[in-house]
Amino acid sequence: MVQSVFAELERILPLVRKPIQYVGGELNATVKPWDSVAVRWALMYPDAYEIGLPNQGLQILYEVLNERNDVLAERTYAVWPDMEALMREHSIPQFTVESHRPVGAFDVLGVSFATELGYTNLLTALDLAGIPLHADDRGDGHPLVIAGGHAAFNPEPIADFIDAAVVGDGEQAVLRLSDLIRDVKAAGGGRADMLDAIAASGVAYVPSRYEVTYLPDGRIRRVVPTSPEVPWRVSKHTVSDLDEWPYPKQPLVPLAETVHERASVEIFRGCTRGCRFCQAGMITRPVRERSKTTVADMVQTSLEATGFEEVGLLSLSSADHSDIADLTKGLADRYEGTNTGLSLPSTRVDAFNIDLANELARNGRRSGLTFAPEGGSERIRRVINKMVGEDDLIRTVAAAYAAGWRQVKLYFMCGLPTETDEDVLQIARMAKEVIRTGREVSGRRDIRCTVSIGGFVPKPHTPFQWAGQLGWAATDARLQMLRDEIRSDRDLGKAIGFRYHDGRPGIVEGLLARGDRRIGAVIEQVWRDGGRFDGWSEYFSFDRWMAAAERVGVDVDWYTTRERDQAEVLPWDHIDSGLDKEWLWQDWQDSLDGVEVEDCRWSPCFDCGVCDQMGTRIQIGPSEGSILPIVQVR
């Protein structure tokens, strides 16, 4: 019988900040009797509850797993250092929030990594749970530690700490894993048998079943399966018909305040715009839309199940849904005159979006307008394949001001391949032109725009996976220059906000993103030196990372600022995202030549490889049906 640790926890909760985040009790949470199932998952988001709870991926898997009679899933999140200290003092293990069961008692600890900066938090959770940090040291009584999420497309830096990694969409993968684990358990098998079964099935990547060898210069020689049953490459999972998977149906509603106080409905998955810096767009291909009637049903179901006042229509580029005009108009009609707000994050830069935003603002709520030109000059936007002309951009933003918006955010990156000072300075000129035109068309002087800029981090499975990352000092110098250029005109400059992320965290992210198995020692050293919550500036320490790298003999520049050549074996080559490496290389070369690539939704296939390799196809509308008003019963 597995006991709840709540009684012990209750004694320390009055001593920690925001205790509500540790007690669970969310609306729509599921608690199942421990002995009623064959397989038990603890699902973790390796960041604070306020960030982790709204995560859609985790909520989807939570529901999909709990719908199965023979499986239960509970959730756990990273605990803040004040809580960690008290848990250690009182010998309280890492626990799940629903039933406060110790994580070490579950069959699986599934951890979703949206970003690499959560790796140290994984180690905290393992250690608090009493699970050995190294997969090699674990025995039959320990859970399988399985990573997922976008960062799992290069699981090598955490290969020491995880037992397996799921690549791609998790919905079907977690069910197949549950079956495999249940069957091995039923047959009396242990941990090694489970990992053998998983590795052989190809459902997940099992690092211990692959051997990595290196060349004398430090590059990888090759990555070889250790047994003939194990596939050479592990393929990503792709859910084909999203209308068949309308999750979450019962979104979790926390007591604690979180970063997204709204329900979210994913309107499509994948993106084929082909922005070369964008790992999410590359690894989630092809585009799979939900039909507008499914979206409309999910919106209403979410509102009823949660009591939220706002619904976000999520995707990587929401205005690209083939039915987006009908969808937004239909939903705006349905909820007109109510207090329900709709928002459409992640939109591209064109005038069409202003119409959509106007539809959604009918109830008087105006969510902010954000555009992401990403690069300051036309030239650099050709390099990154973000096809938006300077004039279009100014016109679009001006249209927003004319339509009544007073505040517009513009997102950019610094340190893109081939970037020069001039490309970055163009951002200032663009922002000033935006204000100048905006004042003209709106006839007001109180309009503002905010330039938000961060350092570019090259990611695996993108055409920029070979690129040298810009060093942090050079990034900071360019950001400083940009800031001065924005401030150079006092009148326009005061209408332009400037937000930036300095270059240092990006170097650590770059190290972790494109690292290999030798980076595990750095992560562990940083954690032993106190590294926690690396995604939070108040906890992140660049010096700690650099000192740890030096101590374990890792050359950070070699992993970050070094450009790779075509022949190099990349640490993630044996993880198959479907993208053809030849095609990625060609796209990298095209990028350097400033050659753009079209979107395959509206042009012939250009053979990125995903659909052929994965047996998938683009699924877009327009779909049948229309969005009907909801009839109120009383």
Partner: protein
Amino acid sequence: MARRTPNREYVPPVQTLQVRYAKRGRMRFASHRDFQRAWERALRRARVPMAYSAGFSPHPKVAYAGAAPTGAASEAEFLEIGVVRQVDPSVLRAELDAALPEGLDVVGIVEAAGPLGEALRASRWRITWPVVVTEAVEAFAAADSICVERVTKAGRRTIDVRALCADLVLVDPCTLEVTVAHAEPTPRPAEVVTAIRVVAPDVPDVPVVATRLAQGRSFPGGVEPPF
């Protein structure tokens, strides 16, 4: 040109309802803001015809009366809501209870007969220590005046906690029940604990469990709830 005014008329409330609810179990760790959000969501889930404030960011009309602090449990919290259609309090009670998270439980709903604030003059608290406090409580009871300091953003305030406490009863060697008069400011249970440690410094500075048992008009021997 997009509309700059909300496309929604202001509808004034036609009925005011007073709700008594409990904060039990793990919900005692919810802060005021936490359960405020939970309440507003529950009101929407239960489709209560809430009155909204006028203005560009309308919010539902809910007034919370002196909420128990984070960490304290309560059997007697009160709030008031305005609705734009007459509702039957007993039907509403069942629907709201179903829409609230477990541990935030509706105890009663009535149509307002008078202002809540005037009816809520004192609270009966039960405070449980993990140690024996018999002598400490006796020493506290024997004093006429014991002051503690509250530090707020606005500055320091001195509160005579002892003067506002009455009807001290030790229900067991670790548990005190006490009536605390509402004042400006009202002592919190943690401040009662601090005041006791002023006269009995031997009592360790450890978390206690505090539960508001009742809220209303005080009378010798207890507190009379408004409903």
